[in-house]
């Protein structure tokens, strides 16, 4: 079995003539808390979507937890927990019903799915809510999405901006859960624009810019010289001067 949780080689995806992901190589060690960073439009979400099989890659190879994508797609999907950037929630179900549904889709029997769903709703402080997901706030939607990613006890989590729209209390709760998962041996691959969060949680990072990995490795190595992750990030991707005239503003 491969030592890497995710191993991608020369991954490419283009939309028309524009390459969104342009020859990405990724090695995410098992048991790591891996931060995948990049400016807006750098190719982070496209990479996650290819890793999870939501979109096909134009070329390149992907191996996840020792299984090849897309040949062993179902084996991979059964072992990953996904928190995508856009909603995969069915709005006309309650939180409890949604979690039970997701559990059953991942092969749990109804009783187990229901019981785990209840525990997760308790954990994420959504237990008393009989509202349909359509009526949830953005933070509640993120919390229920994260709960859904946990229900089948996956080995690998792929999370695209999991803390976006979540309040401080909810974010703290989610971070604690994620850290606990890594301590128990799970691998977490997340993207976030909040570099302080990545700096505090992650032990490995990769930075993608214009569809290419510009740096990758242990977070301590990237911050060599005592600079913060934000400084390192700006140095790597380059902070452009403001463009255009805003004299009217």
């Amino acid at each position: 079995m491969s030592a890497a949780a995710i191993c991608a080689r020369d991954l490419r995806k283009a939309y028309g003539a524009k390459p969104a992901v342009d020859g990405v190589d990724l090695d995410v060690p098992r048991g790591s808390f891996f931060g995948f960073l990049g400016p807006n439009g750098a190719g982070k979400s496209t990479t996650i979507r290819m890793l999870t099989g939501l979109i096909p890659a134009d070329s390149g190879s992907i191996e996840i937890l020792g299984f090849r994508m897309p040949e062993q797609e179902l084996e991979v999907k059964a072992r990953i927990g996904l928190v995508p950037d856009e909603s995969l929630l069915f709005d006309r179900l309650t939180g409890a019903e949604f979690l039970e549904f997701v559990g059953r889709m991942y092969g749990l029997d109804r009783a187990t799915a229901r019981s785990r769903g209840r525990s997760l709703l308790d954990l994420f402080e959504l237990a008393d809510d009989r509202k349909m997901i359509a009526e949830y706030s953005k933070g509640m939607r993120k919390r229920v999405a994260m709960a859904a990613s946990l229900i089948h006890h996956p080995d690998l989590f792929l999370m695209d901006e999991p803390f976006e729209g979540v309040d401080a209390v909810g974010a703290r709760l989610m971070k604690n859960i994620l850290q606990d998962l890594v301590r128990r041996g799970a691998t977490i691959f997340l993207t976030s624009h909040v570099l302080e969060v990545v700096e505090r949680l992650c032990d490995h990072v990769a930075i993608i810019h214009n569809g290419k990995i510009v740096t990758s490795g242990r977070i301590e190595d990237l911050r060599a010289g005592g600079e913060s992750l934000e400084d390192a990030f700006v140095r790597v991707v380059g902070a452009g001067a403001p463009r255009g005239q805003l004299d009217w503003l």
Partner: protein, 525 residues
């Protein structure tokens, strides 16, 4: 500002030309058919005697008005309209928004514009200044209908956004159709047109006033009456539009604080029934679909429409027979319900899931099972509708026996095999996001625009069975041809399913993107 809104709408449409080309072709066919109707109306008006015109023209104009106001509702699609939630944040004067909204009402009455234009030409051939009068009156009549339609639409959309009320609203709308037919049934049918025409001679009625001006009968009074009605329609439309601007549809549709635990428990048991027949993940998806569709206001409204409109249209005819209805009655109502449910179930089966459709590509489940589960859920509701129709006709004493009921169930199943097969393909090839709340948003584009052509073809195999019964006067021949159609439908269904799954696999990005993309400032039908 108006130009900016229209330009934003144009720009949001520019990426969907392939799909819109289909709508264009379908529209051309539809409006060509209406052009023939319009020409017939024009010829009829040019040849009619003054007495006939005085009697029938007000009724004709009333019909035009009724079509303009009611047809969008009867077809469960209320036409294009401004998406006020996207525009309310900008400093746009409400009168300008109202002006655009009024102009958008033209989209629900193009057929009537053709009829009115041809009618005006026909009348002008009568001579005596009729052409000039038509040139003045027809634009006012159009304005009256547009303004009235704007107000009616705003009012209906607000009413239909409220929990429970929308279902009651659908029932009341069905009554609009059934009342005239019941009047016919209870003896008002004899010379009804003449009597209705006779009772419409008051110039206080806008249609009569318009007809009087067109025919040169006391035109001053008629013109004043028509102008007064148009001004009233303007105030009504503006008033209702302003109320819609301030309407909070989210609050109106919110889950009530108190829900009966017993009711929840009973519903929960019903939703779990699929697990008795199938294993997960099929059972889980069917259960999820049943819960989702049953809670989707738009689906519930169309479900009630399918049930009540079919009965509303056909029951009076059947009641008139003073005995069991013709055998075709039940089948026609059931197939009508099947076709009406199509737009909120099988023609665009991922429409309500929107971006969550991506879940099916992320979860360890085959797409074949997803489509089958969605079809099973659609069939549950289709058969529920048919069983309700059968029960109602039995209670009314219209049922033609158990054989007729069995035939209806069988015919519905065979028709469904063809429609679901085409629906699966259409759902992955031409998906579009549907709003679960609003009757008027999403689902009427591209492929769906062709439905009036697809239905006759898809229902042809079943039609052949009825043809065989008629031609050979034999129940055995009917049964044989129907059985053959069922086998063919099964083969067709599995072949189309395979194609749909392959298409979904290769077009998964486009599929999810199409379901996620929101409309521009003007929401489609």
């Amino acid at each position: 500002m108006i130009r900016a809104i229209l330009r934003a709408q144009f720009l949001t449409m520019r990426f969907g030309w392939g799909r819109r080309a289909l709508s264009l072709i379908a529209g051309l066919i539809w409006y060509t058919l209406w052009a023939f109707v319009a020409v017939a109306v024009g010829i009829a008006l040019s040849d009619a005697s003054p007495a006939e015109l005085a009697l029938y023209l007000p009724m004709g104009l009333l019909g035009v008005c009724a079509y303009w106001q009611l047809m969008p509702v009867a077809s469960a699609s209320m036409g294009s309209a401004l998406d006020l939630r996207k525009l309310i944040v900008y400093p746009i004067p409400h009168r300008k928004l109202f002006a655009i909204e009024v102009l958008l009402r033209l989209t629900t009455g193009v057929e009537m514009l053709l009829v009115l234009a041809a009618g005006a030409i026909g009348l002008s051939r009568q001579g005596g200044g009729a052409g000039l009068r038509a040139a003045v009156v027809v634009p006012i009549l159009i304005a009256l209908n547009l303004l009235l339609s704007t107000g009616t639409r705003s009012l209906l959309e607000r009413i239909l956004s409220r929990r429970k009320i929308r279902e009651v609203g659908a029932l009341l709308l069905a009554m609009v159709w059934v009342v005239p037919r019941l009047l016919f049934h209870f003896g008002y049918g004899e010379n009804a047109l003449e009597r209705v025409g006779g009772s419409m001679q008051s110039a206080l009625l806008p249609w009569t006033a318009a007809a009087n001006v067109l025919l040169g009968n006391a035109p001053a009074i008629g013109f004043l009456s028509l102008a007064a009605w148009t001004v009233a329609a303007f105030f009504f439309g503006r008033w209702q539009f302003e109320r819609s601007l301030r309407h909070d549809s989210v609050a109106a549709a919110a889950t009530p604080a108190q829900v009966s635990p017993t009711r929840v428990a009973i519903a929960d048991r019903l939703y779990r029934l699929p697990a008795l027949l199938w294993r997960d993940p099929l059972a889980a998806i069917v259960e999820k679909e049943l819960r989702t569709l049953a809670r989707t206001p738009r689906f519930r409204t169309v479900f009630i429409m399918g049930f009540t409109f079919g009965l509303a249209i056909w029951v009076p005819t059947a009641v008139n027979r003073k005995g069991p209805a013709e055998p075709w009655f039940l089948t026609v109502v059931a197939v009508y319900a099947l076709t009406l449910l199509g737009q909120v179930s099988y023609w665009n089966c991922f429409g309500f899931d929107r971006s969550a459709t991506a879940f099916y590509f992320a979860a360890p489940v085959s797409f074949t099972r997803v489509l089958i589960a969605k079809n099973v859920a659609a069939m549950v509701f289709i058969y529920l509708e048919v069983v309700m129709v059968i029960a109602t006709t039995t209670v009314l004493g219209l049922a033609a026996g158990w054989r007729n009921a069995a035939e209806t169930l069988a015919v519905t199943g065979v028709c469904a095999a063809y429609l679901l097969a085409l629906g699966n393909w259409g759902s992955v090839r031409y998906p579009s996001g549907l709003s679960g709340e609003r009757l008027s948003h999403g689902g009427g584009r591209g492929f769906q625009g062709f439905l009036f052509l697809i239905y006759p073809v898809a229902l042809l195999p079943v039609g052949l069975a009825y043809l065989a019964r008629y031609a050979f006067d034999s129940e055995i021949m009917f049964g044989l041809v129907l059985a053959g159609s069922a086998v063919l439908g099964g083969v067709f269904y599995w072949m189309a399913l395979d194609t749909a799954v392959t298409t979904a696999a290769t077009r998964r990005e486009q599929l999810v993107a199409a379901l996620t993309t929101s409309d521009g400032p003007v929401s489609g039908e």
